[in-house]
């Protein structure tokens, strides 16, 4: 099917127009895709709009892309002028076909900076692109640029006063909650979730999600909690998704940091650590505070490890779940270490209405760090009664808090009952990790321990060791 250059020209111009008209006709298009269709049907547009789905017949793509691609480059080299409407349409078409073409995104950046393109249109365009190319690095990169523009627009004063990334969503220091930012944040979470669902362990989607929280919702406890609870079902149905679990690790770490910060910010024994006192809260009063939001750090870790245990037992042989365990236990272990090292300071997460409690914690805080794992269970039984809530939320039966002995018994239990060789492998690796990384990190012999374990592993394989091990 030989087409003359003029014919191609006419065809392509029509297609670009058809795409543009489709968006005008239906501003709610939510997905793009290619329709496998090797030949053109006579005089019918290759652009197909059905409900909210925009399709392009595959035959036209091989004409369309080179044409709009070269047109944009001619413009960029100042060999051919394109007006702003044409630029917007052409870059849109290009990016729907080839979203990693950075130059096209850059043209749109310039249009946005001139004020002729609303940056939020690029959030929409990016969202569409991601339905077909959920990993596209340049799309995510451009998205972050756009969000930075939006942030600047939302908080011009704040952007001057604070450091970038410290703009808060709402309720901070008396200023009214920013509706636009909230909406943008909600949309971002949605876009990330959809992209994560379209490609397993989508690194770019999840690291973008983290970036958004770090920059649009810094220190916002409510959002951190909401994300943690809303992700629980997702990770339970995506047990191989390492990025999804890493996101939970990020949330845990951020929550612990914020809770500790909030606790430190309050001073004196009679402070109730309700959310109204937390500087980054949403201004919701104590009456509306839900139990999950005021959970103590130990409870947070307890629940997370419980989730991890359930999943490991239900879905044997998933490395991701064991990695998650390592990470969570590591966070927990080091948080406990830091807590007991705060000897001179007021214990942080205490409800001081219980006098005897403060006494016991004072005693334990002075204890040797190394003794922690042995006495952990005992110590934690005292801690179950101290939460930030009033006593009516006090838990009933004792929860055994995690520690090295309990982790080792967990591994033993798994090893004795498991039938999956991978599960056995991962359990054994976890045990070695506990010994080498956690315990050894407490002592100077840390790295020697790791090396020793490595040596055992290597010699087991009977491979020739090329260099001398130190």
């Amino acid at each position: 099917m030989a087409e003359s250059e003029e014919e191609v020209d006419v065809l392509v111009q029509r297609v670009v127009k058809d795409i543009n008209n489709a968006f005008k006709k239906n501003p709610n298009i939510d997905e793009i895709g290619l329709i496998p269709c090797p030949e053109a049907r006579y005089n019918r547009s290759p652009i197909v709009l059905v409900e909210n789905k925009l399709g392009m017949e595959s035959w036209c793509v091989k004409f369309l892309l080179p044409f709009v691609h070269n047109k944009l480059l001619l413009y960029r080299q100042r060999k051919q002028w394109l007006d702003r409407e044409a630029l917007i349409d052409i870059t849109c078409t290009l990016l729907l076909l080839n979203p990693d073409f950075t130059t096209a995104w850059n043209v749109r950046k310039e249009l946005a900076q001139c004020g002729v393109l609303n940056p939020e249109r690029d959030l929409y365009l990016g969202k569409l692109v991601l339905t077909k190319f959920p990993k596209s690095p340049e799309t995510w990169i451009h998205r972050r640029w756009v969000l930075q523009q939006v942030l600047r627009q939302c908080r011009p004063r704040a952007a001057e006063q604070k450091e970038p990334g410290e703009v808060e969503l709402g309720g901070a220091q008396g200023s009214p909650p920013n509706e636009r930012l909230r909406r943008v944040l909600r949309d971002e979470m949605k876009v990330c979730a959809e992209a994560a669902g379209r490609y397993p362990s989508n690194y770019n989607a999840w690291s973008h999600r983290i970036w958004v929280l770090q920059n649009l919702a810094k220190g916002n406890l409510k959002i951190l909690y909401d994300e943690l609870s809303s992700m629980k079902l997702w990770v339970s149905t995506h047990v191989s998704d390492h990025s999804g679990f890493h996101y939970r690790q990020f949330l845990m770490k951020a929550l612990v940091a914020e809770l500790s910060r909030a606790a430190d910010a309050s001073c004196g024994p009679s402070q109730d650590l309700h959310r109204s006192h937390w500087p980054n809260g949403d201004g919701v009063g104590p009456a509306a505070a839900e139990e999950s939001r005021t959970a103590s750090v130990p409870e947070l870790f307890g629940k997370e490890l419980e989730l991890c245990t359930d999943l490991i037992e239900t879905y044997p042989g998933h490395e991701t779940l064991w990695c998650h365990r390592r990470h969570v236990f590591f966070l927990w272990y080091h948080w406990r270490k830091e807590q007991s090292q705060d000897v001179g300071r007021q214990p942080s997460l205490l409800n001081h209405t219980d006098e005897t409690l403060s006494g016991s914690l004072g005693a334990s805080a002075g204890r040797n760090v190394q003794a922690m794992d042995v006495d952990l269970a005992l110590e934690e039984s005292k801690q179950t009664s101290y939460t930030q809530d009033s006593k009516r939320l006090k838990r009933g039966p004792l929860q055994l808090r995690p520690g090295l002995p309990s982790e080792h018994s967990f591994v033993t239990k798994i090893l004795s009952g498991c039938r999956s060789p991978e599960q056995g492998r991962f359990a054994a690796a976890y045990r070695k990790w506990l010994d080498s990384v956690i315990v050894a990190a407490d002592t100077r012999s840390g790295s020697v321990k790791i090396k020793a374990n490595m040596n055992k592993r290597i010699s087991k394989r009977k491979t020739k060791v090329e260099t001398l091990l130190p």
């Binding site: 091989k62 080179p66 990693d100 130059t103 690291s207 983290i210 590591f330 990384v437 790791i450 260099t467």
Partner: protein, 307 residues
């Protein structure tokens, strides 16, 4: 190992591309050329490539700001600036560029926190500067600070502080720390552990837990291990078997995993990986810059490798 077939594949690559595929990949053309040239040089076949044409192409991609684009008419970018400098270094023709302007461009991209715009592959900036011999022009301390802030509890590195550890990112960061003389800041045993856990029963390496093996990770992971002095923690013969299985006996070239379609990217990293594993039919490759060692020796560059 079918080196001749791979050389034929690369030499012929691009000549059969139709408009559509060419336009689709043009945004990374400079890197594509770097991959092709490097693997040819490693196989001792660089002479089969069109040196003058390529040098002219690279030169014409330098913009006024000093940065270099992936192809004519595209915008300059840090990634392609690095690839351009690497290409010209292979040809000992870096002087066709205005080097001072290149350095100015790289400097201009450094941000307050030490990172460089151009997003995740920030650390490539150091590659460029280092090849130009002007490493001292960048704010090194801030950059080191930023890279170290990307270190995670497992010893690995993510693309930003708080991001998941990723083998590609680990490679960039360990390379950077090597170039800047900061390898001692890496926890080699911890990171080495994470890296050698990338090896799967098939012998191939993945980039993160529970992902499929991919030949390009034979490079990112292996080179990182070499840089931190733990390459013996991998089962080398099993890895070699995997890499060789990724060859396409008919077309030449390597694919990401056995049976898939080949491309120059995976061809380079397959061959480079085999070189690191000690294959004597291939030239020695430098793990930090992924270029032949003899080229770096020529310009007197010896990034730190731990033992």
């Amino acid at each position: 190992l079918l080196l001749d077939k791979h050389a034929d594949y690369i030499a012929a690559y691009g000549s059969k591309k139709d408009d559509y595929e060419y336009a689709l990949s043009e945004y990374l053309r400079m890197s594509g050329i770097y991959w092709g040239l490097t693997v040819m040089d490693l196989m001792g076949q660089l002479h089969r490539m069109n040196k003058d044409e390529i040098i002219e192409f690279v030169r014409s991609c330098q913009h006024e700001c000093g940065g270099i684009s992936a192809s004519l008419g595209h915008d300059p970018h840090l990634l392609y600036t690095l690839s351009a400098v690497q290409i010209l270094t292979l040809y000992d023709s870096v002087s066709v560029l205005d080097i001072d302007r290149v350095v100015e461009y790289v400097k201009s991209l450094q941000q307050d926190d030490g990172s460089f715009t151009g997003d995740k592959w920030d650390t490539q900036a150091y590659g460029s500067s280092c090849l130009c011999g002007k490493l001292e022009e960048i704010n090194l301390n801030k950059a080191v600070e930023f890279v170290l802030s990307c270190m995670n509890f497992d010893g690995g590195f993510g693309c930003r502080p708080g991001s998941e550890s990723h083998a590609g990112q680990i490679y960039c960061c360990t390379g950077f720390l090597s170039i800047t003389g900061n390898l001692h800041q890496v926890n080699a045993d911890l990171l080495g552990w994470w890296l050698c856990e990338r090896q799967l029963p098939s012998g191939g390496l993945n980039g993160r837990p529970e992902k499929l093996p991919d030949v390009c990770y034979s490079w990112w992971v292996l080179a990182s291990l070499k840089i931190i002095g733990r390459i013996h923690w991998i089962d080398k013969s099993k890895l070699r078997t995997f890499i060789l299985a990724c060859q396409d006996e008919e077309t030449g070239g390597f694919a990401d995993r056995p049976g898939d379609m080949v491309d120059p990217f995976h061809t380079l990293f397959g061959v480079a990986g085999l070189s690191l594993l000690g294959d004597e039919q291939i030239k020695a490759v430098n793990p930090v810059l992924c270029m032949p060692e003899d080229v770096l020796q020529r310009i007197g560059l010896r990034p730190e490798i731990a033992s």
